[in-house]
Symmetry: C2
Subunit: 195 residues, 2 copies
């Protein structure tokens, strides 16, 4: 399996760094494994994008690989995952929350919302996968619903999406074995009902 992902290394396992490196790791790993399963079974071609990094300083030692000596994490301007399934462009973001009753909109940035809106205008498929950690519930929610809440928030509306909204307008995903998180099944139901 080849993934263009910056993975955490053993050197990252010190206490302070652990919280960052492991933030959402299990959920993310489940999604990466699902994508890898889809890829190997020829079902889709969906990858996680590399973490955007601002490189400031690079050493070019003789006879060995270039070493990045100073770099910073950049705020992503798009979503984390994209690719192709049944000819359609697929684009999504995966998020986790410890919150039990709602999903805070602070999980997103304006430019990510802008990106997802553009994708839908281009007739692509855009959605979010949300993991409620306290109850282990996973939901697929079409990005259009997210836009409603996002735009509402700008106008003084609520700052989170109630969990009941996911229950009513999203699609629950049960954890499976292979793939672990079968989100293409939801896409089939919503976008390819005749297949």
């Amino acid at each position: 399996m080849q993934r263009p992902v910056t993975s955490s290394s053993s050197k990252l396992e010190t206490k302070d760094e652990r919280s960052y490196a492991n933030r959402g790791m299990t959920f993310e790993e489940d999604i990466n494994h699902s994508n890898s399963y889809y890829l190997q079974s020829g079902k889709s071609v969906i990858h996680k994008k590399p973490t955007p990094v601002q490189i400031v300083s690079v050493d070019y030692p003789k006879r060995s690989a270039a070493v990045i000596k100073e770099a910073y994490f950049k705020q992503p301007s798009t979503t984390d995952y994209n690719g192709v399934y049944r000819g359609k462009y697929i684009d999504f973001e995966a998020k986790e929350t410890r919150n039990k009753t709602s999903f805070p909109l602070t999980n997103f940035h304006q430019h990510q919302i802008d990106h997802m809106k553009r994708v839908i205008k281009q007739d692509g498929i855009s959605f979010i996968l949300v993991h409620f950690k306290s109850t282990q519930d996973i939901y697929f929610l079409d990005a259009k619903h997210l836009f409603d809440f996002w735009d509402g928030q700008q106008n003084g509306g609520r700052k989170s999406i109630p969990k009941s909204y996911f229950e009513n307008f999203g699609s629950p995903i049960q954890l499976g074995f292979n793939p672990r998180i079968d989100y293409l099944k939801i896409i089939d139901e919503l976008f390819f009902p005749d297949v």
Copy 2:
């Protein structure tokens, strides 16, 4: 314009580092500007993926941003550019050569070819943009042609694509003002002839 690209900084301007930082920069910048133009005019949503980096060591100073102290460039497992246009998944790689009469296949890795083959199987649009620096010619070539040469090479065939092949089977792109490299025009001609 927000691009998830690791840009070169002034600190990269020492002599040794220049050759890496500037490799294909002008052509790449032209493509990035074209993508930005397409994005802002609502024509497509196509981005360059961040450079894949293997992060080894990160400092988390108090009261300031995390600093990556050791990282390495990773070989990309996919192509550099992807996105959506008219609902279709778009995926391509841009390459330059100083070679006057042919384009060396060493510009690609096996897993990039595998990736492009998978994209086409999923009914996505995959191609390469090649810049012949000596003559300033730019060609659009459907990835299927690249596969023929790649697979032929595995069986003892030639290790490069003759420039005459691009002239016969590719589509030339004239440098423009805005967008600089109007590759969507070629996609319209090849994939949306009725629009």
